[in-house]
Symmetry: C2
């Protein structure tokens, strides 16, 4: 049987998909409908330009982003347990798709789309199967500093990848360092009108953020209206930029790159990718990474928002819902999807009450796909790049670094190493580096337990570190407290500490190991204890334990540790151990002399 | 600054090599000399045939084993901190060399020797540099179940690899499964005289072990004489087997494979391998594995024996000593060396007092190399295989498996998985599998903390699990105790537990998190606490902490957690928290009603 007690709800049976919508659809009211409609509209106005921008970031044709905003959120609405998670294309997943395409040298749009769709299918299948297996807890194994370093690093990589669109400098490099070098070398080829469009759009988007919010609050504009105005900025920028290009024919006269004419229309089920003979197995590691990052981002934001409303997000059902949403993306020729962090917050702030808001968003994006595609002929890529850059700058988390630096330098180091790894080595290798570092750090800490020799605070039953307090000790008794569970990583150091203490204090006849902070003892540490008993016995010293916790004691009894300890004992309290052992002092005198002779 | 307090002695400066022999040479006496001479002789009699056998196991010419028993133990004697560690060729390192040669398809003896010598050089360089860096603690990160599974698996692989020598069945496979299949298919080609020699030698060696020991004890033969008789068995078997083959010319008439004529002589410094253009980089991973396993085996046995004598083994100086010993092996054309487990026990039991015993052993092996080589022409490989098989069967550790099975099924699972991995996938991949498993298991356990809702034992200041004891609770106060350090792996489960408890008990106004078993809080868990404070606040619930340990508190103060908690507090004792919060009950009544309305 495993060490930990089984956590409630983590039964061994498969998790069956649950039509979670029945929970909120039953008592859905008119006011819910009105709220969901408004929230759905505000989110859609933000989502249409973002869908185009993230498709461009991923290196896919525009419909891969638009379609990702249609069927997937509708499927999530039926199955998801979060009421407000906005599912669709997201920046980090788009970057991972771009990095996968880049590392495989895929540039042909049709080939790129097949790769993107296969990735979406694999992401969906992985999440769905993990959901059936109730593996929602897996997300707990990504440490915050690593996640934060990864996200900030990915945001920087995304910004670097968009500079070529913002400036018009030609660049083909994939990894951030190579790309930066190309951009520096080509700085003379900057296209002035492209740069102006890009910088102008970024300036407008920045102004429409916090500065506009402050202004509107000063004039007491109601919150939802203010949100609508702020979140319309990307659409306004796209429309006015497109109008400018169309009016001046800048794409012809000034070389401004545009999305280009494309009939998008509504998505239809297309399973042809299944037979397209794509590199299914080769794409699997990238798909696993997109699934992990997308899932963690989705559930993190869903949980924060659900907690505020006393609602519950079920991590296993979320795996299933996000899995089905990605399968839906694949079947309609779209890129992988996840719950976007900032878009979900917008949806929540806009007053969404149920996932029906997401359905309304999907319908509005569908209308845009039907009627706005003629605009694509003149839509400048620089504007989309500006939208991407302003959106991902929100992901740069300086506060997390500052806090980690103050709280724990090693965690801050893991954060910085992950960040640097993502920028210098690429997103996948950077993340793997971070994961490896956080595991090593974890073991390293367990391998450096706090161990103290303790003595009795005079006149009390309390025992404290002899280096910090004026306490009473006894020459024949060594009291040692270990403030950590005993495991393979620290079994050696604990043994060394005790043996070293005995070498320094050779009159010791009894060692009492105080286990008040020992929550578990693994097999390696058990071996260490058994070895220590014998090593001490050959030095004529007896090992005792004190304050062993119930579950630890149960396990020790299975291998008869109490019997192996004898004549050593397991005391309930340290003061009891001291009382008993000091009473025995005269008894142990003889054996003490014997041991002294042996050493001579 | 890292979480753990720096361990004494782990300074940041480089560890300089120490001529450790000065510690024992200063007061070396005549009785020491007599004891060391006898022990050195007994060990040499065991070592000569083992050196030949392990060279054969490694797939190297005989002198690679004999030379490994000459200069390396002398260098170790000068630098090592263990008094009795017997350094020389060992079975597991030989297997790893064989596996490396096999996977690279090296069969030419001269090429094989160059590979073996490069491996010895790399092992030596790695250990030496790790020693300078004071990395002796690294050995703590190999868990006992994984090490035990690896050793037992390696022993089985070694036995399987020797069947061809014991039976004369021709087989060329490298991995154990392929080899077994070949042996089964070729069972009809068994050579009767070879089989007879092999089985006869194994039977004799087995009888000269425990059964002979029992017999000699019954006749009160002194311990050292009994040991000499028992440990002479391999030499006796080799000599009589060689005599039989020479007398009957079995190598001609019955196809008995022999070592073959070879002028060995004394080793000389030969640096030609440095310029031989071998695959240095490709061999590095294998060298790292040999270094790790050899070091852990050496230090484990050295520590056990030193503890019995109140002596100390310095893990960092051992890295340096074993590193120099391996460099010495490389410079004299020998295979990688380590401290052998059983040979060290023999040396210790034979009465060795200082590493000078190892020097005497080396001299005796040198005499054997000078004068016994003519015997090689008739020395049957089946006899050497029998010596290997009987020696490595000691490494099969059924007791460790039985104990792990009783104590902790997951550790037993890790042991069995490593064992099966070594046999089925090969030694390197099996070990890597075991290492990965033990890390995952470690994190998995941290991710499943014991969390309990507690209440007050009436009339006391003690608090116990409400599911196990009849305790007093209060409707507005939730007391939660977590029996584990808080880290990224369990931050999610702890948060979920508390939020779930509040959903089940919506009248809760105060949550007290009892941190008496929390030895550390990492950055991820700090983020969780900060998020929890806000999530609870939006539910009109206040979070408090109790019984926070000193070092944890120091760290929390750096990020002003006490300020963030307010109006929540950090109580010294749980009973103090309960007294204060129940006094406040009337105050919290109002907010309680307010929250009730919001939920309605």
């Amino acid at each position: 049987m495993p060490l930990p007690a089984p956590t409630p709800g983590s039964g061994k049976r498969l998790r069956l998909p649950d039509l979670a919508m029945r929970h909120w659809l039953a008592d859905y009211g008119r006011r819910d409908l009105a709220d969901d409609l408004v929230a759905g509209m505000i989110t859609a106005i933000l989502l249409v330009p973002q869908s185009l921008a993230y498709a461009m970031l991923a290196g896919l044709p525009p419909q891969a982003g638009l379609y990702a905003s249609m069927l997937p959120p509708i499927l999530y609405a039926a199955l998801g347990t979060s009421r407000t998670l906005a599912v669709g294309p997201v920046a980090v997943a788009a970057l991972l798709v771009a990095s996968t395409l880049g590392s495989r040298g895929v540039t042909d749009p049709q080939q790129a789309l097949i790769h993107g769709v296969i990735l979406a299918f694999e992401v969906g299948a992985l999440l769905f199967v993990l959901g059936l297996l109730r593996a929602g807890k897996l997300m707990n194994f990504l440490s915050h500093p690593v996640l934060s370093g990864f996200t900030t690093g990915a945001a920087l990589v995304i910004v670097i990848s968009q500079i070529k669109h913002l400036t018009g400098i030609p660049a083909t490099g994939q990894e951030a360092p190579a790309l930066l070098a190309q951009l520096m070398a080509g700085v003379g080829q900057t296209k002035p009108m492209t740069l102006m469009l890009g910088l102008g759009a970024m300036g407008f988007l920045w102004l429409s953020g916090a500065p506009l919010g402050r202004l509107l609050r000063r004039f007491r504009v109601p919150e939802r209206a203010a949100l609508l105005m702020g979140k319309s900025a990307p659409l306004a920028v796209v429309l006015s930029g497109t109008a400018l290009v169309a009016w001046g024919e800048w794409h012809i006269h000034h070389g401004v790159a545009v999305v280009g004419a494309l009939a998008v229309g509504l998505p239809h089920i297309d399973l042809s990718f299944l037979g397209a003979g794509g590199p299914w197995l080769d794409l699997l590691p990238a798909a696993a990474l997109i699934a992990l990052i997308g899932y963690v981002e989705s559930v993190s934001v869903a949980k924060v928002l659900a907690n505020r409303r006393r609602q519950r997000v079920d991590p296993d059902q979320e795996l299933i819902a996000l899995g089905v949403a990605n399968l839906g993306a694949a079947f309609t020729g779209a890129m992988p999807v996840a719950g976007g962090f900032s878009r979900t917050v917008v949806n929540d702030t806009a007053g969404a009450r149920t996932p029906l808001a997401g359905v309304f968003t999907a319908i509005l994006v569908g209308l845009a796909a039907l009627y706005l595609t003629p605009l694509f002929s003149y839509m400048p890529q620089a504007i989309l790049a500006a939208i991407i850059v302003v959106a991902v700058l929100n992901l740069v988390d300086v506060a997390a670094l500052r806090q980690a630096w103050r709280y724990d330098r090693t965690d801050a180091g893991a954060l910085l190493a992950t960040l640097a790894g993502v920028v210098a080595l690429g997103v996948e290798r950077g993340l793997l580096l971070g994961l490896a570092l956080s595991l090593l750090l974890f073991i390293w800490r367990a391998g450096h337990p706090h161990i103290a020799r303790v003595g009795q605070v005079p006149g009390t039953e309390h025992f404290r570190n002899i280096q910090r307090h004026a306490v009473e000790t006894w020459p024949e008794i060594l009291l040692v407290r270990v403030d950590e569970s005993l495991c393979f990583a620290n079994a050696g150091p604990v043994e060394d500490f005790i043996l070293q203490a005995i070498r320094e204090k050779p009159e010791t006849r009894h060692v009492v190991l105080i286990a008040s902070a020992v929550n578990a003892i693994d097999t390696s540490a058990l071996d260490m204890l058994l070895g220590l008993i014998h090593a001490l016995r050959s030095l004529d010293v007896t090992l005792h334990l004190a304050e062993v916790k119930g579950p630890v004691m149960d396990r020790l009894q299975r291998v008869d540790l109490p019997g192996q300890l004898a004549p050593g004992r397991i005391f309930l309290h340290t003061h009891e151990a001291v009382r008993m052992l000091t009473d025995q002092a005269t008894l142990s005198r003889d054996s003490s002399r014997h041991a002294g002779q042996e050493r001579a």
